[in-house]
Structures are given as structure tokens and as C-alpha cells.
């Protein structure tokens, strides 16, 4: 009986962050709906949010994977831009005068884009898993390098005017739901399955919780980390393709503020930056909150810079809250063990 009770308690503990986040999401929703009844609380706003959420959600999921192992992948935005640029370059060079392109070439372009993402992820994997470089530093370097190569090749200019059919993916609907949103759900389920239902996923959590223990259990901790950065690169490239398809352009310096946003989302989503804990649901909910704040600020005509400050503020606030809650929880459990 007691055992079952404690198991129930740990289950609740694991979900506490999601519960907090749900309350937070609802509060944000009602706040902005009340503050801006006509602009925020309108179907057109919700539809435009559904188009904006997927790209940043996928980038955040990519970041989450590396954070689960206790690392960090700062190069996600650079990878996504590089993938988008390669795919766009292939499409624009193969396009005829009228802007038409056969579906085959679009698929080839997208596959090339994802290959670039995987290759870039592989560079991170080699650095972090093989050469033991600190993840922050390794991905900081590759972020600069990938971004630098993209700027060097394109001369810093963006590639625009992508074919009609490709844009339909990012701007169309699938049974009434915006296509990018459907893609995001699909990717979220796939990653959720990967981290919760496969051995690789279990190993990811183990490496993040205690790298030393993972090393001593000879489960190939390096291989796990290598996979994580590879998948992170793949997901980033998918996000890049969705961005290119939605905006009909690719540029080497698109979304330079996305890395801050992705870290804010991941931390708000309850992922422990030291590794070992996190859920995909948390990341998606946190993306929705942040997007509501962005749209709400927009509807209330606050400046975009205030949104930047709000992102930073949310990050610091959530981290401080986590520290305080954590401390209180430890104190309580110490008190409890002393009593018994």
C-alpha cells in the first residue's frame, strides 16, 4: 500500500512541471484575451499563431534533446538556415522562368537540405562525443562556422522567390489544420516515442542524470551523445525547411534571436539544463505560452524590444523559481527523513 502511494507520488512529481505549465498557459491565454479582446482573441490571430509555433517548437525540441544529456546545442539556428539555404539554392537554380518546378526536384532539394542538417549534426557529434569538447564551446564554434560559411557563400544575401508548390507546404492546410502544425505534431510524437519508448531514449536520460554512472555501466555513452547531436541537426534542418517554405525565402541571418527564444522555451518547458529531465509536452506547451506572449505584445502594440526583454525576464524568473522550489522540496524531504 505504502509502496503504491509513493509510486503515485513520484508520478505526480514528474508531472508537476506540466501541471504548472498548464496553469501558466491558461493564465497567459486569459490575460491576453481579456487585455486585447478584439485583436488577440480572434480566429485570424489563432491561425497565424498556428503557423508561427511549429518552426520554433521543432528547434526547441532539437535543443531539448541535447539538454537532456546535460549538453547544449547552440548551432541549431545556424544549421536550420544552412539547410534552408541549400534547399532554396537547388530549387531556384532548377526552376524554369515561370517559377515552376517538378515535385521531384522539390523533394531532392528538401532531402539535400536534411542531409546538410545531418552532416552539420555529425560535426557536432564528432566534437562533443569523440573529441570530448565541452558542448557549449563546440556548438558555439560550429554555430559561427556554419553561419560564416553560409554568409561567405551567399555574400550575406537572402535567396527568395521559391516555387509555388513548395510554399504550399508552409502556408497550406491539411484537413483544415495548418500543415506546419501537423508536421510539428508528427515530429513531436516521433521524438516523444524516441525518448520514452526506446532504449536510446532511456540511455539519453541516464547519460543526462549521471554521466559517470552511464560510463561505468558500459552502455556506450559516447554513442548516445553522438546520436543526440545528429538528431538535433536533422530536426533543425526540418525546421529550416518549414521556415523557408512559410516565408518563401532563406537567409543566413534569419532568426538570430531564436537561440535565446529556444532556450527560454526549453527551460520554461521544465527541462533541467543539467540534464536528465524533460518532456516533449512541456516544450510544446512552453512554445504556445511564448507565442501567446509574442502575439499578445503585438496586439497590445508593445515594442518588439520589450518582447526581447520579456523573454530574458521569463528565463531568469523560471530559473529562480525552480531553484527556490527545489530548495524547499529538499528541505521538506530532509525534515521528513529526520522525523521518521
Amino acid at each position: 500500500m505504502n509502496e503504491r502511494l509513493s509510486r503515485f507520488n513520484t508520478g505526480l512529481l514528474a508531472d508537476r512541471k506540466i501541471t504548472q505549465l498548464m496553469i501558466f498557459t491558461t493564465l497567459t491565454f486569459f490575460f491576453f484575451s481579456y487585455a486585447s479582446r478584439d485583436i488577440f482573441f480572434s480566429s485570424s490571430n489563432f491561425i497565424s499563431m498556428a503557423y508561427q509555433i511549429p518552426e520554433i517548437a521543432i528547434l526547441s525540441i532539437a535543443l531539448m534533446l541535447s539538454m537532456l544529456t546535460g549538453g547544449i546545442d547552440l548551432s541549431i539556428v545556424s544549421i536550420s538556415n544552412a539547410a534552408a539555404l541549400v534547399a532554396s539554392w537547388v530549387m531556384t537554380t532548377k526552376m524554369d522562368e515561370a517559377g515552376n518546378l517538378s515535385t521531384n526536384w522539390i523533394i531532392i532539394a528538401c532531402v539535400l537540405g536534411t542531409i546538410i542538417g545531418v552532416l552539420a549534426g555529425a560535426v557536432n557529434s564528432i566534437l562533443v562525443a569523440r573529441l570530448n569538447v565541452t558542448p557549449i564551446l563546440a556548438t558555439l564554434a560550429t554555430m559561427t562556422l556554419f553561419n560564416g560559411i553560409a554568409i561567405g557563400i551567399t555574400n550575406g544575401e537572402s535567396v527568395s522567390g521559391l516555387p509555388e508548390q513548395f510554399m504550399r507546404v508552409g502556408n497550406g492546410t491539411f484537413f483544415g489544420i495548418p500543415t506546419p502544425f501537423v508536421l510539428m505534431i508528427f515530429i513531436a510524437i516521433a521524438v516523444g516515442f524516441l525518448i520514452n519508448r526506446t532504449t536510446l531514449g532511456l540511455k539519453v536520460f541516464l547519460v543526462g542524470t549521471n554521466r559517470k554512472a552511464a560510463q561505468y555501466s558500459v552502455m556506450g555513452d559516447r554513442k548516445v551523445i553522438a546520436w543526440v547531436y545528429l538528431i538535433s541537426g536533422l530536426l533543425s534542418s526540418l525546421a529550416g525547411l518549414i521556415i523557408a517554405s512559410r516565408t518563401s525565402a532563406a537567409s543566413p541571418d534569419f532568426g538570430s534571436s531564436y537561440i535565446l527564444l529556444a532556450i527560454v522555451i526549453v527551460v520554461l518547458g521544465g527541462i533541467n539544463p543539467n540534464g536528465g529531465f524533460g518532456t516533449v509536452t512541456g516544450v510544446i506547451l512552453a512554445t504556445v505560452v511564448l507565442q501567446m506572449v509574442a502575439s499578445g505584445f503585438n496586439a497590445l502594440r508593445f515594442s518588439q524590444f520589450l518582447y526581447l526583454a520579456a523573454q530574458g525576464g521569463v528565463l531568469i524568473f523560471v530559473m529562480i523559481l525552480n531553484v527556490i522550489l527545489e530548495k524547499r522540496r529538499t528541505n521538506r524531504s530532509i525534515a521528513k527523513s529526520l522525523r521518521s
Partner: protein, 340 residues
């Protein structure tokens, strides 16, 4: 110290890299070896070096600070805005510099609170505060470019210590800042190697728990570090404004990478506990050399970022390889002892 050890030092490798690179550039285009070019490299290094000294202290202590460009431009821009708003004596040079240092220290204190008081991971804390600082500055202090900066700051941009007119070529100007920057560099070096505070910074990077057991207050040391870095960044920010002869609140964004790259190339270990001022000076010079003279090598300027990224990548790979070799040697020697 024997010659082999001296050759293996990071500083020696950097000097060789700088000399080889200079020779290559010099052979390709003789105008590289002029006094004017040398002084130009110095001039473009002043601000970078002051930032780098701050970053060096943080990295030695085992942390990372990416809010310093935000702190720098916040302090520099706000100092100029305050001077104009209250019509303070624009002839005075020390007033804006003092103002910027004070503002920088206050912003550094905010970082200190997040990091020392609440124990937030340094990367996440400074990412958050950099968003807050930049966002608040652009929302509340100003988002427009100021070209009529106070007279004293404007004049200071052309204050030359010495002017040499060679028989052919351009006038070589050595800026007067070389003296205060050199003094500052020596002071930071003395601070790190000759004071109790400096030793605690190194100790902190070696291990937090060990530092605590030595009887050093970890929180107080961290608080001092981030405030000091804030002050240095403020100084660098106002000097940047002065040398540019304009205050642009959008400037310096993205410059964090170049400076962290310079410090890491200078041999500071990102894991903390190791780093020298001399190495940092060389790192800054190497980065300025590459950024400023890539065009002389016949490479387009848009490859600057890629060059910095590649350089950083090489630097950290070499560091990681050395580290793992050292770890292997250590393991071999301990197993030898166990065998005897």
C-alpha cells in the same frame, strides 16, 4: 623551464601562428608591413581587449558570460544619452567614462544576483540578462542612433599619441589609448596572479567544492567577478562609442563570439582553472589580424565569420586533444604506481 615545454605552451603556438600569418599576408601584399597597418590593428584591438580581459576572468572561474556586449553598449549608449539629457559639461572626458563604468557595474551586479545568489547556470543567466538589458535599453532609453556624441568623446577618437609620416604611404597614427589599455592589462594580470581575489578566481575554476572547503566564499567571489566584468564591459562600451564617434544601440550584437573565441584561443580553459592574460592579448591580436586583413589575402570580407569559426574550432580541438592525452598519461602513471 626547458625548451620543449616552452614550445608546447599555448602562447608560443599563438606567436608562431601570428608570425606565420603575418608573413603569408605580407608576401601577398606588401602594404601589410607598414606602421599604419600595425597601428590600425592595435586600434581595432583596444575595445576587444578590454572585453576579453573581463571574459578571461569569468572563464577562468569556470563560468561563461555572454551578456558583456549588451552591458557594454547599454552602458556606453546610456552614458551618452544621460550627458545629453541633462546637458552635462560635454567637454569633460572622465564623466562619461565614469558613468559607463558605474552603469556597467550595476548591470554586472544584476548578473551577480542571478548567478551567485540563485545559482543559475552562468550561460543561461547571462543569456537571459543580455535579452533583458538589450530589450530595456531599446524600449526605454532609446533606439535611435546618436551621431552628435559629447565633444570630449568625439575628440578622443582622434587623440593620437604619436604620428609618423613615412616617406611613402599613409600617415601612421598610434592612438593614445595604448597606454591606459596597457596599464589596465598589467593591472588585471597582477590582480589575477598576485592577489587573494585572483587566487580565489583560479580556485573556483578548479573546483567549486574544493574552493568552499578552502574557506573561500564562493558566492562573494562570484559576485565580485561579475561586477568587475560589468565594470570592464562598461568601460569598453564607452570607448567603443568614442572610437566609432557615434552611439548606435544596435551595435556590438553578435560580437560576443569573436571575443570568447579570442580568449579560448589564448589558451583559457572553458572548464575553468586555467588562463593567462598574455595568452588573451595574443588571442585578441590574432583575431583582429585575421578580421582586418582577410581582404589583403584576397578573400572576400564576407568570409570573416567563417574564418573566426574555423580558428575557434581548431583551437578547441587542439585543446581537447591535449586534455585527453594528459588524462591518458595520468591514467597510465597511476596504474604504474598501482602495479609497483
Amino acid at each position: 623551464m626547458n625548451i620543449r615545454k616552452l614550445l608546447l605552451r599555448n602562447e608560443t603556438a599563438l606567436i608562431i601562428a601570428i608570425v606565420v600569418l603575418s608573413l603569408i599576408i605580407g608576401i601577398k601584399s606588401p602594404e601589410f608591413f607598414t606602421l599604419a597597418n600595425l597601428f590600425d590593428i592595435f586600434r581595432s584591438s583596444f575595445v576587444q581587449l578590454i572585453f576579453a580581459l573581463g571574459v578571461l576572468i569569468v572563464i577562468i572561474s569556470g563560468g561563461i558570460d555572454i551578456s558583456f556586449p549588451a552591458v557594454g553598449i547599454f552602458a556606453g549608449y546610456t552614458a551618452v544619452v544621460l550627458m545629453q539629457r541633462f546637458e552635462w559639461n560635454p567637454e569633460n572626458l572622465l564623466l562619461p567614462i565614469a558613468l559607463a563604468i558605474i552603469i556597467g557595474t550595476i548591470l554586472g551586479a544584476i548578473n551577480s544576483i542571478a548567478i551567485a545568489t540563485f545559482g543559475i547556470p552562468t550561460l543561461i543567466a547571462t543569456l537571459g540578462t543580455s535579452g533583458i538589458f538589450r530589450g530595456l535599453m531599446l524600449t526605454f532609453i532609446g533606439s535611435s542612433f546618436i551621431s552628435d556624441i559629447p565633444v570630449a568623446l568625439d575628440k578622443f577618437a582622434t587623440a593620437d599619441l604619436l604620428k609618423i609620416q613615412p616617406e611613402v604611404g599613409t600617415l601612421a597614427r598610434l592612438h593614445v589609448l595604448i597606454i591606459p589599455v596597457a596599464i589596465l592589462t598589467i593591472l588585471v594580470s597582477l590582480l589575477l596572479t598576485r592577489t587573494m581575489f585572483g587566487r580565489s578566481v583560479y580556485a573556483l575554476g578548479g573546483g567549486v567544492e574544493a574552493t568552499r572547503r578552502l574557506g573561500i566564499s564562493v558566492k562573494r567571489t562570484q559576485a565580485k567577478i561579475y561586477m568587475l566584468v560589468g565594470g570592464l564591459s562598461g568601460l569598453a562600451g564607452i570607448l567603443y562609442v568614442s572610437l566609432q564617434r557615434k552611439a548606435n544601440p544596435y551595435d556590438l550584437a553578435g560580437s560576443e563570439l569573436d571575443i570568447i573565441a579570442a580568449v579560448v584561443l589564448g589558451g583559457a580553459s572553458i572548464m575553468g582553472g586555467y588562463g593567462t592574460v598574455f595568452g588573451t592579448v595574443l588571442g585578441v591580436l590574432l583575431i583582429s589580424l585575421i578580421k582586418g586583413n582577410l581582404i589583403l589575402l584576397g578573400v572576400s570580407g564576407s568570409w570573416q565569420r567563417a574564418a573566426v569559426g574555423a580558428l575557434l574550432l581548431i583551437g578547441i580541438t587542439v585543446q581537447a586533444l591535449n586534455e585527453s592525452k594528459k588524462a591518458k598519461n595520468r591514467r597510465v602513471s597511476t596504474s604504474d604506481e598501482a602495479g609497483q
